[in-house]
């Protein structure tokens, strides 16, 4: 890295020279915060762009002007947009998302329970899917263009083409209706023990794993192949290095960053896949809450869920980038 741009502020310049790794991570953190703020504006503004006024929709066409004004005041809609945004964001940062328009209950209370359920579902799926995907990806590369690779390729191609709800109902048809080996619907209660919970969510987890696994295998395979076909691997082979040594010393360290990326990308995908799977299995999570809210246009709930989903997604991507920066020294000096 030669010559820093003269426009960089002094502290940042110093940080970059002394601790390039730390500086990159700090930059990435700042970027994420900026991104989150912009997304919050986007979500708030998107909902604000409601064609027609909410109060009029709420009361119907024949509402008197006085009734409309009362409703507007009750929901705080008579305040200017900017002050409402900052109030909303300030409260959201303290964990208060206001109350639902549909039921009048506190949104945060509802989300508190459901977020835990959704994360539990996603985490169990990830614990199964990640090792399986990396393992099968390595198998596909090892037996490249032979039967196992072709089999994995065709099966994963089929699996990424299946909509989540189809996989879900197929599993229900087979395991609940035909063999009654699993439970449906996947309702969880606070009083349930961990084992009971795991039993109940077996099918939703299986659905998520199947859907995410195919993506992950294909991407892992591509990432490892990308490394294996690089010039330094050819050099290692040509200078007579054994297969194992060239993989542990040359391929693995370089493949780590892309694989971390693949995993994080798919974990982020899992967060979204959860929405459909929760609806299929009637699982009390965030996804179902959000879909229900969208159907009845319960905007505070939609805003809150949207912001939380987006935040988790952004945080996962950020973690992936930071891990990749740590794993791959070349990324510390972007050109």
């Amino acid at each position: 890295m030669t010559g820093f741009p003269a426009t960089l502020p002094r502290p940042r310049l110093w940080l970059r020279r002394r601790f390039p790794l730390l500086a990159r991570i700090a930059e990435r953190l700042l970027l994420s915060i900026l991104l989150l703020l912009t997304v919050s504006v986007l979500i708030f503004a998107g909902v604000e762009a409601l064609p027609g006024d909410f109060a009029t929709t709420y009361l119907g066409q024949s509402a008197t002007p006085q009734a409309v004004a009362n409703i507007r005041a009750e929901f705080g809609l008579d305040q200017p947009v900017t002050s409402r945004y900052f109030e909303w964001l300030g409260n959201a940062l303290q964990g208060d998302f206001g109350s639902s328009w549909a039921s009048g209950n506190s949104v945060s209370e509802q989300i508190g329970n459901r977020l835990g359920n959704s994360l539990f579902l996603a985490a169990v799926s990830a614990l199964i899917a990640v090792p399986l995907a990396v393992g099968l990806g390595v198998v596909a590369v090892r037996f490249r263009d032979r039967l196992p690779d072709r089999l994995i390729n065709i099966l994963s191609l089929a699996a990424i083409s299946l909509p989540e709800f189809f996989v879900g109902y197929l599993l229900i048809m087979f395991f609940v209706v035909k063999t009654s080996a699993a439970a449906f619907p996947a309702t969880v209660y606070d009083s349930m023990s961990l084992i009971e919970r795991l039993q109940v969510i077996a099918l939703p987890v299986a659905t998520l794993v199947l859907v995410v696994l195919a993506h992950m295998i294909r991407m892992t395979r591509a990432a490892i192949l990308g490394v294996m076909s690089s010039a330094y691997m050819e050099t290692a082979e040509l200078k007579g290095l054994g297969a194992l040594r060239s993989i542990t010393h040359h391929a693995a360290p370089n493949a780590l960053a892309p694989i971390i990326n693949v995993v994080a990308l798919n974990l982020a995908y899992l967060i979204v896949g959860v929405v459909v799977v929760e609806v299929v299995f009637v699982y009390p999570g965030m996804g179902q809450y959000m879909v229900d809210a969208v159907t009845v246009r319960d905007l505070p709930v939609v805003q809150a869920c949207g912001l939380i989903f987006a935040a988790i997604y952004i945080l996962l991507n950020m973690t992936a980038d930071i891990l990749a920066i740590i794993a791959n020294p070349r990324l510390r000096h972007p050109r």
């Binding site: 083409s161 189809f166 229900i172 989903f309």
Partner: protein, 275 residues
């Protein structure tokens, strides 16, 4: 390229896509019954008269599948075409002009892509009125971000080639460079991307309809048909699985063709391995 070099899997893909389009275009002539016509009992099993049985309101499933192909394909295809026109145009403008325009467009795109597609769609659909146009526009807007990213990357690759510089030195305008120099040389990866986006659009519109936020009843569409019949699953009625299988089959067919296109493009690059 000769016909022999096309693998069997790609032929299967083409055949499936063709079949779906024939169903979509000639639906009123092929379908034995009407789209919303009630012809018998709820969830009546399949027999010689109703080849696939009846749905949750006693409508013929086969007819609704054929009409559903029409809706699903129409929405997915128009969204993809729209996304491609806008995405390619914006990405090429960004790649050719660089500087400020490129930066603004790219950052805007990054912002859109930092929100998961389904979540963004849910937020937007909570606010906008439910109509076919809105649905197509929302899916197209989400797809545009992906098209833009790929289009910009491939255009930047080509824009530094000697023949582009030659055209610039000849004094050709920006439009000439985009349409006569860059576009023909990026056609292959863009074609594969078109297939991928089309497959994504089919899955996405089906998912939205399944969640009850896409195409509204009584219009038949594959995702909505799964939603209509999902309560039958627990009684062993497989009516919900048929439209699901139709979505899966069509997407697999599109992906088979895309897979072949991608292999073809990557083997053009040469090198040791092409994944």
């Amino acid at each position: 390229m000769n016909r022999r070099s096309i693998p069997l899997t790609a032929w299967i893909g083409f055949a499936g896509i063709l079949l779906a389009f024939i169903c979509a275009i000639f639906a009123p002539w092929i379908a034995p019954y009407g789209e919303t016509e009630i012809v018998g009992d709820v969830w009546q099993p399949a027999d010689a008269q109703f080849l696939l049985g009846l749905d949750n309101l006693g409508r013929d499933l086969l007819s609704r599948l054929i009409y559903g192909a029409r809706t699903t394909l129409f929405v997915a295809l128009s969204a993809t075409v729209l996304a491609f026109s806008v995405g390619i145009a914006l990405s090429f403008i960004a790649a050719v002009s660089r500087g400020m325009i490129d930066m603004v467009l790219s950052r805007l795109n990054d912002l859109m892509m930092s929100i998961p597609t389904l979540i963004l769609a849910l937020v937007v659909l909570a606010v906008l009125p439910q109509s076919l146009t809105v649905l197509i526009l929302v899916i197209a807007a989400l797809e545009t971000t992906r098209v833009f990213r790929l289009g910009r990357a491939v255009a930047l690759d080509v824009a530094v080639m000697d023949f582009v510089e030659a055209a610039e030195l000849r004094g050709e305008g920006k439009l000439w460079i985009v349409f006569r120099e860059i576009l023909p040389n990026t056609l292959s990866p863009l074609l594969a991307e078109f297939g991928l986006r089309f497959a994504f659009a089919i899955l996405f519109v089906s998912t939205l309809s399944f969640l009850g936020l896409g195409i509204q009843p009584p219009t038949a569409d594959w995702g909505g048909m799964v939603k209509d019949n999902k309560d039958g699953i627990i009684f062993g009625v497989s009516a919900a699985l048929l439209p699901g299988a139709a979505i899966a089959a069509l997407t697999i067919c599109v992906n088979l063709v895309v897979d072949w296109l991608l292999r073809r493009t990557s083997s053009l690059k040469g090198g040791r391995g092409d994944g």
